[in-house]
Symmetry: C2
Subunit: 394 residues, 2 copies
């Protein structure tokens, strides 16, 4: 009688959520400090001080009705202009306020972008490993998820990508730095993807859109900058959220930027606005629109994540585990020493080590280790990892 698909989505807990609940329960039994929970991608460093300072200043300086009132549906114009200016300064993309649609976070950004371009029968391509909710969002927009496999370095297989594109392909989702792998797509990868997309949209005579999911854009640790996909391909929609960079995941603030070079860019932007309206989220949270605009470009203390990454990656390699080198985000992707990642995760539980099997990310035989935790937690967990490696004879 109700919508069964909605019921399924609401009643079936995600694997990550299962592990999270297990960690809480186990912590009550043996003490939280004895449970090593690497399951959740929740920033562990505080927001930059300027975030709370900006909130306090706005409360002092702005009359209540103006501060907490509606902004325009697509977001406050000054806010959008400021963010556009920052994007242009950093990436030289030539966007303006009228290319930006403010949203209540990364999920909303993706949904607005998908509902703007997709209709029933369309296909959206994702590259394994991919963030599990992509499937929910793509299907919610009426399209079908098509998965393309990865090479050994966990970068997308370009050959397989080209083969996967059909006349039904409406677009592809790219996520770099990647959740769950921590891999960053370099220039060459983006150029190769763009070349295939251009070839195929010419062949089929219809645009194929690149939706770039960029919440980890600023989280990179080896000095290299993350190439900005919009600079490599015209028909791009950049989906952003300040959740990770500013450590504000609960505050739900992000945007969709439509490339001014996209085919019929203004029409595409109007469709993003209309999708937001249909989905029920016009006017992103007003206070945090202004906070985000003021703090855009800042980050929490990334040196913590870098230290964690270095420590964990070196130790795990030393113990004999196979890991993909994670240049960004705060995830480490490790090969399971047995084919069944679920079984591996169960065995790790004996050592109170909790991480997520890769199957839900569209790839078998890996685990995702979220290292956005206290560095001390990692240090105390290392002997457990060592024992786990020994059990597998590594």
């Amino acid at each position: 009688m109700i919508n069964e698909q909605a019921y399924e989505l609401g009643s079936k807990r995600s694997v990550i959520r299962e592990i999270f609940e297990y960690a809480k329960k186990r912590g009550e039994e043996i003490g939280q400090e004895n449970v090593f929970d690497f399951s959740i991608g929740n920033p562990s460093v505080p927001a930059p001080a300027k975030v709370n300072e900006t909130i306090e200043r706005l409360l002092r300086e702005t009359p209540s009705v103006a501060l907490h009132g509606y902004t325009s549906a697509q977001g406050d114009k000054e806010v959008r202009a400021k963010i556009a200016a920052n994007l242009n300064f950093r990436f030289g993309v030539g966007v303006s306020a009228d290319n930006l649609y403010m949203t209540c976070g990364a999920a909303a950004s993706l949904c607005a972008a998908l509902h703007a371009i997709c209709q029933s029968g369309d296909e959206m391509i994702v590259f394994a490993p991919y963030f599990t909710e992509y499937k929910v969002f793509v299907e919610g927009a009426g399209a079908k998820l098509v998965t393309v496999g990865a090479n050994a370095d966990l970068l997308p297989s370009i050959t397989e990508f080209e083969r996967a594109i059909t006349p039904k392909t409406k677009g592809v989702i790219v996520n770099s730095p990647n959740n769950p792998s921590g891999v960053v797509y370099g220039e060459k990868t983006l150029q190769a993807l763009a070349a295939v997309l251009r070839k195929k949209q010419e062949e089929y005579g219809a645009p194929i859109y690149l939706i770039s999911d960029e919440p980890y854009r600023e989280l990179v640790y080896d000095g290299e900058a993350v190439p900005f996909p919009m600079n490599y391909y015209e028909n791009t929609l950049s989906c952003y959220s300040w959740s990770k960079a500013l450590s504000l995941p609960g505050e739900r603030i992000g945007y969709v930027a439509v490339s001014p070079k996209a085919k019929e860019s203004e029409k595409l932007y109007a469709a993003v606005c209309g999708a937001g309206r249909k989905l029920g989220y016009v006017c992103a949270p007003a206070l945090f629109q202004r906070v985000a605009a003021e703090c855009d470009g800042l980050t929490g203390d990334l040196s913590v994540y870098k230290r964690n990454r270095d420590l964990l990656y070196a130790a795990l390699k030393g113990y004999g585990f196979s890991c993909v080198y994670p240049s960004g985000a705060f995830y480490l992707f490790m090969q399971s020493p047995e084919a069944d990642a679920y079984a591996f995760c169960e065995r790790a539980k004996k050592y109170e080590l909790l991480f997520v099997p890769s199957d839900d990310f569209g790839l078998k035989s890996y685990v995702r280790i979220a290292y956005c935790v206290d560095t001390e937690t990692i240090k105390r967990a290392l002997p457990k990892f060592k024992e786990l490696a020994k059990e597998y004879g590594l």
Copy 2:
């Protein structure tokens, strides 16, 4: 190539937005103080002082990672428990935290409720006059909007309602105090609606849901309390937002409450959670979840709206206009002295009076006057209304 429906929704400005933009432009020409803009339902009184005080206290007392971090998908458990307790205190409904799903505002509440119950081919009934976006939200959930007319007092025609229910009817949206009419549904109306719903769901052997849209729940001016629909009918989902009561429309914070007496209430709640997930808004804005829980039950200074209402209603009646007595919300619904409300609104523009023709609310020959403005603005506008009345020979 893109989603044409989304493009339509994004490119076609609403009538209200058109008038709003006109007001801004006209204000630049002749001075904002000379334009009497009654088009927008934006609270004109500040948020209660406790709102900003609570924000400041939370910033002082709560570590950043906890304050700005993810809450659970359905909202912080303590927040939901507190709001449930307030609902029980005020209305004795017996809800718990697990009946509440926190959302990013009224539109999100409605969309989550609609997507939880509707599927393609369903019908949703609304009573004219109704909030224009209902059509967008209902169609976005795949259902068809069916409009039922009003009696002379602008309460729903119960006879017409009963005739409109078919085996395809999935539910009905009730909005009291009403936008755009300001009318409050009394006990008798709710009892009559519930009786029809019970009869019909027995006849068809399937639940028919009542979605109660309640952002104006606390905005009433004649001492009477607004009857709480969930107390009159079991299969009810209450959709709330603090936008109007706390004057926080920009902060996007509300909830869906599923009646614990609804058929398979837990399953229905799970469907609401799943709908929220599919629509991309799990975890409502975290800081304002806590602010709302602390300030729930407070309101801005409603005496301003009451004064405005009294002043405007008495004056307009005195000038010879026919008005529906508005017990709540901050809208006054006035009959157009000519059949074409658009023409009337155009003529009113000569006097710099701006209000919204009722056609988009599903009813002809009325205008909506939003009196959530400075009382001084109303006082200065009254002579203009008088001249307008004279022009029609009232």
